[in-house]
Amino acid sequence: MRIELAGVTKIFTDEKKVLDNISFIEDFKALAIIGPSGGGKSTLLRIIGGLISPTTGDVFLDGNKIIFDERYLIQHRRQIGFVFQAKGLFNHLNAQQNVMLPLVNVHGYTKADAQKIANRLLARFGLSADKHKFPNELSGGQQQRVAIVRAVAVKPKLLLLDEPTSALDPELTGEVLAMLNELRYDGLNIILVTHEMGFAKKACDKLIFIVNGRLAEYGDSERLFIRPHTAELASFLNRVLEWGI
């Protein structure tokens, strides 16, 4: 998939410039957005997902411009899966119902078909035993895996994930990343904000590095890890990789 950003800037009402003139073009299968906390990574992901609008600038996916108008955005969101850092499942629905809701109420599947799809996917990712559990009865890792199942059940053309493992301990992080890797091999396009440098390096073909709302560096992830061009990325990698990956 090709993504193009042209001069994307986001200023929140408190005059803080969260994103400052981000422009790049990349062809990717899995794109990782990395950088220090508070740098605007999540905001960028929400703009790509059509959850918030940029103050100025354009975003193109495979050459199609995203029109930041509610009538268009609702269609845009329906073609995209979005997974939040945590708490993204509907509290009042169990795992199976969470997966079924968008299928039935947004994509027009019958209840029976939606249930079949939900059960098949939950089974595939080892969640069959948990399908009748409510979000607060699931572990953090299970919650995230159900959230990913819900996002991919509607066959999105792109899956966006906002730090999907940052609230999890290492073991649970492993199970979520393994699932993402499997989906990637299925041919699903992924953009994720992550602090998991091992995953960014090995499972993502492209990387963009954002510092203080600016795009500091981007390109092949292999290259960025081995030969960072900017001092900022070199020092960031030094800090996060200090204890190895």
Partner: protein, 261 residues
């Protein structure tokens, strides 16, 4: 197992059904004994036989209380919901009107509201049906409490729930119907059931404007035969027969929806 274990709960102990039953009997017995000895000190001899004579009036009064409470429940739910919605209105006058309403009815005694609305507002606008006036006043009073319960329910919806609804592609109306309302209902139902018990008890104050409900019936009966103690003990039991099942149901709902946290 030592005998004292039946009466003392350890930190991690589960209470058995037998334990529960035994200790409830003890607690209720203690409670009743206190009243029994209080009556004994005054050498009162209770005689409840007169109640049978007044059975039709009592049934009539009981029915009126139930009717009054049910109609007020529906009306106050409606008022509470509207007020909670109005509270979040972007039109400031409407928002403040809702706040003033809630403050006034929660902040003043119901007895004052009853007199104010029945004798001034009611008379001015020609509402002379006491039952209707009673229902309206009670609903206004309880609606203010219900507005706060519903507002709390709305506030408790986490922002991520709305963002997730947006992300999966739900429209605004669908988000309200499929995500927001079910969560508000689940979270407020226990408190609303509890409020219904309050409505039943508070309806007794309408005896002040001579709505012939249960309390007024008892007042009239005890005024004719001076069996004040027996009358009011029986009155308490009748109200308990209504509020106790509701209280049990509230407990059940609280347990059922505790997973929501």
């Amino acid at each position: 197992m030592a005998l004292y274990r039946v009466f003392i709960k350890g930190t991690n102990d589960k209470i058995t059904l037998l334990q529960k039953f035994l200790n409830i009997v003890i607690a209720v017995a203690l409670f009743l004994l206190f009243f029994f000895f209080s009556a004994k000190r005054l050498s009162i001899n209770f005689d409840f036989s007169f109640l049978w004579t007044f059975r039709y009036r009592l049934i009539q009064g009981f029915a009126t209380t139930v009717e009054l409470s049910l109609v007020s429940l529906i009306l106050s739910l409606l008022l509470g919901f509207l007020s909670a919605m109005a509270n979040n209105s972007r039109i400031l006058a409407i928002s403040y009107f809702s706040k003033v309403y809630v403050q006034f009815f929660r902040g003043t005694p119901m007895i004052m509201q009853i007199y104010l609305f029945f004798y001034i507002v009611g008379t001015a606008w020609g509402v002379d049906n006491r039952f209707l006036a009673g229902v309206l006043i009670l609903s206004l009073f309880e609606g203010a409490y219900i507005a706060e319960i519903i507002r709390g329910g709305i506030d408790s919806i986490e922002p991520t729930q709305l963002e997730a609804a947006k992300a999966v592609g739900l429209e605004a109306g669908q988000t309200l119907r499929l995500v927001v309302l079910p969560q508000i209902i689940k979270r407020t139902l226990p408190a609303l059931a509890g409020q219904f018990a309050s409505i039943i008890k508070d309806s007794s104050l309408l005896s002040l404007i001579s709505v012939i409900e249960l309390t007024q019936t008892i007042r009239e009966i005890s005024a004719s035969n001076f069996a004040i103690f027996e009358s009011y003990i029986f009155l308490g039991l009748l109200y308990l027969s209504l509020t106790f099942p509701i209280s049990m149901y509230t407990r059940y709902l609280e347990g059922k929806f505790s997973y929501e946290n």
